[in-house]
């Protein structure tokens, strides 16, 4: 009975605790419902040889990363040196998904552009960017209209998916890969998936 005056204080502290915890969460990171589900199938033109399509099944049996990138994406520049270093060390094969190379660039008005013109421009821009910044990808594919991006639930660039030997998505990294996230999350995840597979 005596401690009754403490009740509002305790309620306040509990509420403050919940709110403080809420501040540590990142609302921009929306958990993907695709984790542990088969990666959506696709067949897209390769950047190195646009006449040749690349399908998801070609990576069967390998643990690999699908990295969503674009030359207009500023944050991609931030993670790119890390990807290049990973490629040099041959840690894991990385396939690039070039996402809306032309129409995603706010500086270009791609409305009304013929698909062939847009594709040609995308190839030119993407190749130039890779030769400028280094090409860490075993190959890149062109998602001109972003449809495959939607199938993967991409809502920003860069995003990186870890896919196992059976073609299932095992992890999704949202935003640029940092040395910390690579060491603490992505590499351990790759190890885990490799051991399991």
């Amino acid at each position: 009975m005596k401690a009754k005056f403490l009740v509002p204080l305790i309620l306040f502290i509990a509420l403050a605790g919940f709110l403080a915890f809420g501040l540590t969460l990142n609302p921009r990171e929306v958990p993907s419902p695709l984790i542990d589900k088969p990666a959506p199938g696709f067949s897209l033109a390769r950047l190195d040889d646009p006449a040749r399509p690349f399908a998801l099944e070609e990576m069967k049996g390998q643990v690999w990363l699908l990295n969503v990138w674009a030359s207009w994406c500023v944050a991609c520049r931030q993670e790119h040196p890390l990807l290049v270093r990973m490629a040099q060390q041959k840690i894991v094969p990385v396939v690039g998904l070039n996402y809306k190379e032309v129409r995603g660039d706010g500086a270009i008005n791609a409305r009304g552009m013929a698909l062939e013109t847009e594709t040609a421009l995308a190839i030119e821009r993407a190749r130039r960017w890779l030769s400028d910044h280094g090409d860490p990808y075993v190959l890149s594919v062109l998602d001109i209209d972003g449809r495959v991006g939607i199938d993967f639930g991409v809502y920003g660039v860069p995003e990186t998916f870890l896919i196992d030997g059976e073609g299932r998505i095992r992890y999704k990294h949202i935003g640029p890969i940092t040395p910390e996230s690579l060491q603490q999350v992505i590499l351990p995840k790759i190890e885990e998936v490799r051991r399991a597979g």
Binding site: V30, P31, P33, L34, R103, R111, G112, Y155
Partner: protein, 180 residues
């Protein structure tokens, strides 16, 4: 409901008119290119359905806007998907399932009722029931306290009756001197 759709439709038309006025080139392009997907469906009923559904779907880039309100490239793409799929005869439920499968429940402004959202949906009901229960308990306890306080002796009752009748001598505490 009818009015709601009407408001949304007129809002959409006003927006389309505004866009056409601001970007005459864009309007011409749609007309000039029969192959390109139009930004507004020709069938007004379909367009109304698209807008109605779009208002219920969250844009993941600018999270406090629906894909109907947002002009983020992803919202435009998703609106286009909704339009395309509804036009191809899919039901609204199927289109919603398509988006939830890719972006999760977060894409819905109205979260579904399931085990993980039990507290979310049940919380207000629990608060209401709990609060009402607490209030009822307090009222009953106070009624009991009041009843217990009615413990006058026979002498006090007699004196109260006399006071009410007006022929009793005032007690010392009620003397005019102490009242001033």
């Amino acid at each position: 409901m009818r009015v709601d759709v009407f408001v949304k439709l007129s809002r959409g038309l006003a927006l389309a008119a505004l866009l056409a006025a601001t970007f005459p080139a864009a309007a011409q392009r749609t007309a000039a290119e029969p192959g390109a997907a139009p930004t507004v469906a020709a069938d007004p009923q379909l367009e109304a359905d698209v807008m109605e559904l779009s208002h219920k779907l969250r844009c993941l880039v600018c999270q406090n806007q629906s894909i109907a309100e947002s002009n983020a490239p992803l919202a435009v793409d998703l609106r286009e998907q909704v339009r395309e799929q509804l036009a191809s005869g899919r039901s609204k439920g199927e289109v919603v399932d398509y988006l939830v499968a890719r972006y999760g429940d977060f894409v819905l402004y109205e979260p579904p009722f399931k085990a993980t959202t039990l507290l979310l949906w049940g919380g207000p009901v629990m608060l209401l029931v709990g609060g009402a229960g607490w209030l009822a308990w307090r009222l009953r306890r106070r009624a009991g306290e009041l009843a217990a306080m009615d413990g006058l002796s026979e002498a006090e009752r007699r004196r109260a009756r006399d006071l009410l009748a007006g022929d009793a001598k005032p007690s010392s505490s009620e003397s005019p001197e102490s009242r001033s």
